[in-house]
Subunit: 338 residues, 2 copies
Amino acid sequence: MGIREVARRAGVSVATVSRTINRVHPVSPEIAARVWQAIAEVGYVPNTQARALVSGRSRILGLIVSDITNPFFPELIHGFEQFAVEARFEVLLGSTNYDPALMASVVRRMIERRVEGVAVMTSEMESSLLEQLTDRRVPLVFMDVAPLAPRVSNVCVDYAAGVTQAVQHLQRLGHERLAFIGGPLQLKSARQRRDAFLHCLASYPAAPPLVLDGDHKLEGGELAVQKLLSAVPRPTAVLCSNDLTAIGVLHGLDAEGLRAPRDMSVVGFDDIHMARFTLPPLTTVRLSRAALARLAFDALIRDLQNPEASPGATYRLETTLVVRASTARLGAAAPAAG
Amino acid sequence: MGIREVARRAGVSVATVSRTINRVHPVSPEIAARVWQAIAEVGYVPNTQARALVSGRSRILGLIVSDITNPFFPELIHGFEQFAVEARFEVLLGSTNYDPALMASVVRRMIERRVEGVAVMTSEMESSLLEQLTDRRVPLVFMDVAPLAPRVSNVCVDYAAGVTQAVQHLQRLGHERLAFIGGPLQLKSARQRRDAFLHCLASYPAAPPLVLDGDHKLEGGELAVQKLLSAVPRPTAVLCSNDLTAIGVLHGLDAEGLRAPRDMSVVGFDDIHMARFTLPPLTTVRLSRAALARLAFDALIRDLQNPEASPGATYRLETTLVVRASTARLGAAAPAAG
DNA sequence: TTGAAAGCGCTAACAC
DNA sequence: GTGTTAGCGCTTTCAA
């Protein structure tokens, strides 16, 4: 079963078997062939724990997300795992559910498994937890948070530009009274989206903007609709902190007998795959999960390969406005079907 | 950093440190206190690979799914991970994308990490792969597929009952010409759903049923709408193999200027969380992810704790029809909003 | 190019 | 209750 058995069958030493498998030292072709033959015969699969122990490399990368049931994350996870597996890494996934206690447990589990790097794609990270990782010189990459330190990289999404694109789109359509539905405020990314919205409107002193609370879930959007509709004057358009919230709004409006964009223009954020399939299809700000996954993975690998603990880099990620059918000119008749 | 350092600081042997941590053998309170103190001082975290190597237990469970971007799976994964972490297991996730080659790579990775059990929540598993796992005496639990063998359990979803509930619901509403949009036919669960539909209609010799191809994705539903609408006579209701397909249908109908349930009643399958938020909210057959996760996890743990390789058990999982607003009486006016 | 042997960090047998 | 020690399966010096 083990490497010894393979060595015995091939009539070589375990060292030679190891070298054959790892292709790092030269092995004569005839011997290599005998070894591969023996490996096939016994169905030998190397034991990763033993390898990790002796080499000091677990070949595991941690990936921390907020909420795996938010479609944004599976799409991100999918990309990240793909890159990881290509590079012969395994991914240890951690979901925090926006809960700092869970985050602590996730970090602990990752340290126990001796992850070689962690991508933190959520931001409710206490600095004490961060230190546990940095003290062990584990490369880290954050999204939107930049606690600059050696081997800590950062992917910065340009929320301001994304939000501005959305707001300008609405303003061009004649909307002046805008509302915003935020996300969990312990998330820096959610705060940034909200702040970008307020900042953006500060320069257009039309009507004071309405800011409502959400939770980045369907329910939050649904719930916010009541307040949205009872505000005086009633907003004519709403920008949501993510697509799930926007889908909740669409549903909430429908429950009131209203429809986007006729009664209210609705804009999402993220452009999850589902956004093209809502009724009406959602106008939203695209934040590419594939690009985010790529950036995060590459940042980790770079810091991993860099022996000196040089300061981590900062990467920028741009957004694009995707105009679909949930927004329309203020007062326009409902667009023709199709 | 290691257990030796802790032992040195606490003035005890490494064995005592190990016993203190694992609480399996008695340790005197004063010594235990000294050990915990030393552990805190050095920030000691046990190395899981070393533990796994010596104990022969990796404390890793494999979870194989088809497609992590199908919302059905994140909800399942979430439950499974929760149970696993509670029991001090880690989850190694594998996505196959309905691709047998990927499945092979997933199984290989799991064997390399020496998983202690695998939940296969998809069914494109070749028997040769299955053997690699069973040969190593790894407990397995499948969904819908029952290759009966020692330590191989099975969770059987009662698709026939679910589909029957849906069909009867439509028939009670006066629908006679029904269509079905299937899933990837390499999936046994998809075949079972389709077969249940055909079987169900065989006893009501009204109009011959229309069966269309889908892929369990949004796109498949969208695409099927063309064929659905051009069929003569046109079906008045459609049952979809999963919710994603149904949401695609809703979108496809809208693109044609049609709307459910006025122009076509639509029924989904799974009851993903999103189903309550579609327009109109989706009538669907609920298959509880939490229950599925629980059953699968418990089956694994049971086989794991059972030293003799007794044959795995079969568990049943029932479905329930959830009536929402995407179905209506044939020829009825559109229901009032709300 | 190959082999012998040390040892990664820990648990578990055995001795005391 | 506690310490000593062998050894899990592998990689990696070091020597040949």
